[in-house]
């Protein structure tokens, strides 16, 4: 074993990460090479210093400072369901409609009539469509399309759940 091979294995040698054969070659070379012996001594000084190094203590108010800052931040809690907001929106809309019709700004019966007429027309159109669909087996094609869509959504949801956190961590790193 030459000096270059020996010096590049010294740390592994000291950590016991070398094969027995390699370790023997290193110790044999060390016995006869003062240069590598000197490097080995220096590596052991590094090892000793690393193991002995005195750790510092965090500032005494470390936790308190963080908890104070956190109090002013939005909670990372999982978002609540949006139903309450949706319900409030629907309620407010109907309240406005009721108010406007009470003031005769809106003519409710005319609106209901118009919606009814539109529904009738739509129904007729749908029946024509479904008859056409039956003729061309459009229904089958549509069913298959819907099934494919469901499968794709399921795959996306599974993959998303698995990789989103990782993506999140990556973004964390990218952010400054």
């Amino acid at each position: 074993m030459n000096c270059s091979a020996c010096s590049s294995r010294l740390a592994a040698y000291r950590d016991g990460d070398l094969s027995r054969a390699d370790a023997r070659l290193v110790s044999e070379h060390l016995a006869g090479c003062s240069a590598c012996k000197a490097l080995d001594a220096r590596m052991r000084r590094v090892d000793a210093a690393l193991t002995r190094i005195v750790l510092i203590e965090p500032a005494p108010d470390f936790t308190a400072t963080i908890m104070a800052k956190i109090a002013a931040m939005p909670s990372p809690a999982r978002r609540r369901v949006v139903w309450p907001w949706f319900a409030a929106y629907v309620f407010a809309t109907w309240a406005v409609v009721a108010m406007l019709s009470a003031l005769h700004v809106l003519n409710l019966s005319a609106i209901v009539g118009r919606i009814g007429g539109f529904a009738g027309q739509a129904g007729v159109a749908l029946e024509t469509l479904s008859r056409l669909g039956g003729h061309f087996h459009v229904a089958d094609v549509a069913a298959i399309a819907v099934a494919i869509e469901i499968i794709l959504l399921a795959v996306a949801a599974t993959a998303g759940r698995k990789y989103l956190p990782r993506l999140g961590s990556a973004l964390l790193g990218a952010r400054s």
Binding site: R42, A49, M67, S75, A77, P165
Partner: protein, 208 residues
Amino acid sequence: MPGDETLVALVLKGDTQAFAPLVERHQRGVVNFIHASVRSAEDANDLSQETFMRAYAHLRTFNPDLGKFSTWLYQIARNVARTHLGKEGRRPPTEDLYEDETIEQRIPDTRRDAAPDATLIAGEDEALVRSALTQIPEKMRAALALRYFNHLEYQEIADTMQVTLGNVKTLIHRGKAALARELSVEHPTGLLGASAPQEIRGRELLSL
């Protein structure tokens, strides 16, 4: 005391106070991990605060299925430290050269290690190693800090740094070799005096 992951779940349910024991538990580790990269203890404290704030703000992205909370936290700490060093532009320009080969292959200089007095040098070595740590490549420093300051297992270091187990060992070995080299440069024991480092580098280059 509930485990880290349980506490995270509590915070995510809206119990903000459950974050306090997480900070208590990991502050010392994070501060010291970052202190390996920055010389000033004050900076280490500030950057650790930033680490915990980031962790809190992005707590929902922590997935316990992918690993331990501490692993995730040290990843953030590492990113915070790297961003800080990037801003300061203090990254050693020789980083890429270190990253792969050659350091350990340089032939050591025997003259500077002539009979070092162990007890006299011990305390001095710690200070030298501390300052040398900030000079070596970030990857090696992170691996060494996680090992010697945070006492993580090799596998945990691999998970945190997202490298293989073999890579971790290599980083630690090369890191120590790099430290030994910094030690020799900054610790002239007589004979050669202050102008030694340049001379030696030149000599080493010739011998490569």
